[in-house]
Subunit: 315 residues, 2 copies
């Protein structure tokens, strides 16, 4: 683990950076990678982001330009990547070769030669922001916008309980540096009609257990077809199941193949999503984690329910 | 208009305060009133909040205790009350007798003998926070909680575009002073099943106009009955209609009597909700305003549509 100062020094003393992140990248992964790339370029470095083939259209307009750069990479930096097992799909040949991991996941598997991990931070974007201020003294409005996307994505626009006073202050400074407040509307308050249709189908599918304090919501292939929803409608979809009052643990099971279910688990203060998902080989944060289960809808649901029960804590 | 210092001096030099707010009080009205009451009491004053008969259960647990106090009021303070026409229903005999109005509405009608109005503030809670710091030097965790409810209610938990860097810093300080971050979950991320059922009915009722950039959503008596939704499910209900992507102006029409419609208008950067609602005798903020229209569903909708069209600005 590098100290903050030595991480800054490391970034200043090398060059020709290739920046990567995780598959199914969210706003924190994409915003952090693009912001780091822009900041390094402004500090006189060559840097590019390895374009992520699973990026949703939602973020493309802000981050796409950082995918270009004509040089042979000499240093590989991963951002927001807890485990090489979930490295972006076109970067598998970089496994074992990451020179620096910048991350905020407590579950980081320490795969990189160097690392700067602050598990107390709500987003990787907050860490990139600290580093760029130290490297360049400040950030411009484009970098502020990218970091604002990162910070707000991982905190549900300052609503999730990982939001700290420092997160809010970072948000204040990023707005002052030029991030447009209207991003909130675009990213957090607007939904496509197909997304809204899918949400009402999910609400209709809810199965409660543990005396109504736990719930499973389904996203089957059939529901996707009926709503017209696509991958672009899936950002933070697990929050739909999580919004039911009185529910402590919520599970979203999304069918990605006839017998394959992508599981997202959200927990409140009495359980631990990371531990629940570790039961079937997944992981993440204490209050939001995920994994994959093979099998029928019924057997996959039973596996999840058993894991939720095992880590249930009475209030 | 009092200066900040003279408002602080006014509050310090009088006593026996009765604090009132507006009908259909939201978290900003209730949290601001209760926080001011608590802060004044801690500064050695007698103060109580006139209990608001339209208060929803949602906020009762935090604010109820400020309704008691055995003294004859000598000064009346209104908070978050833009116009005496919408004074809380049990305070009509106080019209014309308000000694101090503390408010953040640009549309304030200047009805009070003294006023401290900061129209640039996203919430009345931010103003109360400034005043209490000046009066007492600081706030305790209960006051921080009340002010956090106020600030987050009027900003959609820091998502609406009225959120300023100062709003986020106030949020940071209130968390540090003891407001529990879990309030976000309780107030902004959890919905009762009846609320979720109503939301899907509203989505099903949407009528688009202005080439899909404006929309009306309905809440009829019949929909309330079918969903089982009550007044406790109505907080910020206008945001349901406002969430459709591509929509610039959204209108929510709620039936409160067979021929009476409560109108809420939300606008983006190309229109003005306050001006739209002024067309039928309502008002509010530039991006969120309301009013009432009598008549059939069709005629009320036509009135609203005409007002939206009149104030439409091309992008």
């Amino acid at each position: 683990m590098l100290s903050f100062d030595s991480c800054v020094e490391w970034l200043k003393s090398h060059d020709d950076y290739l920046i990567i992140n995780h598959r199914n990248p969210d706003g924190d992964a994409l915003g952090s990678a693009a912001a780091l790339c822009r900041g390094l370029r402004q500090a006189g470095k060559r840097a590019r982001v390895l374009e992520n083939p699973n990026m949703t259209e939602r973020y493309a307009e802000w981050v796409r330009e950082y995918g270009s750069g004509d040089f042979e990479p000499r240093k590989i930096i991963s951002v927001d990547l807890a485990d090489e097992n979930i490295i972006q799909t076109n970067a598998s040949e970089l496994i074992g070769r990451v020179d620096l991991s910048i991350d905020h996941h407590p579950s980081n598997t320490h795969y990189a030669a160097n690392e700067f991990i602050l598990p107390g931070k709500a987003s990787c974007g907050e860490i990139i922001y600290m580093l760029l201020r130290a490297i360049s003294g400040g950030i411009d409005s484009e970098t502020a916008t990218l970091l604002y996307i990162a910070v707000t994505t991982d905190t549900g626009c300052f609503r999730y309980k990982n939001t700290s006073p420092d997160t809010l202050r970072a948000g204040a400074e990023l707005l002052e540096a030029g991030a447009p407040i209207d991003l909130n509307r675009v990213l957090f308050m607007k939904k496509r009609r197909s997304r809204l249709a899918l949400e009402s189908l999910i609400i209709g599918s809810l199965e409660f257990f543990m005396d109504g304090e736990a719930v499973i919501g389904y996203i089957t292939s059939d529901m996707l077809e009926r709503s017209g929803a696509t991958d672009d409608d899936m950002d933070d979809i697990a929050s739909v199941t999580g919004q039911v009052q009185g529910v402590e643990t919520s599970v979203t099971m999304r069918q990605t193949a006839p017998e394959t279910w992508k599981i997202s688990v959200r927990t409140g203060q009495y359980s631990n999503a990371d531990l629940i998902c570790a039961e079937f080989g997944g992981g993440g944060h204490g209050m939001a984690a995920g994994g994959t289960i093979e099998g029928s809808r019924e057997s996959a649901a039973e596996t999840v329910k058993a894991a939720v029960r095992k880590h249930w804590k009475e209030k």
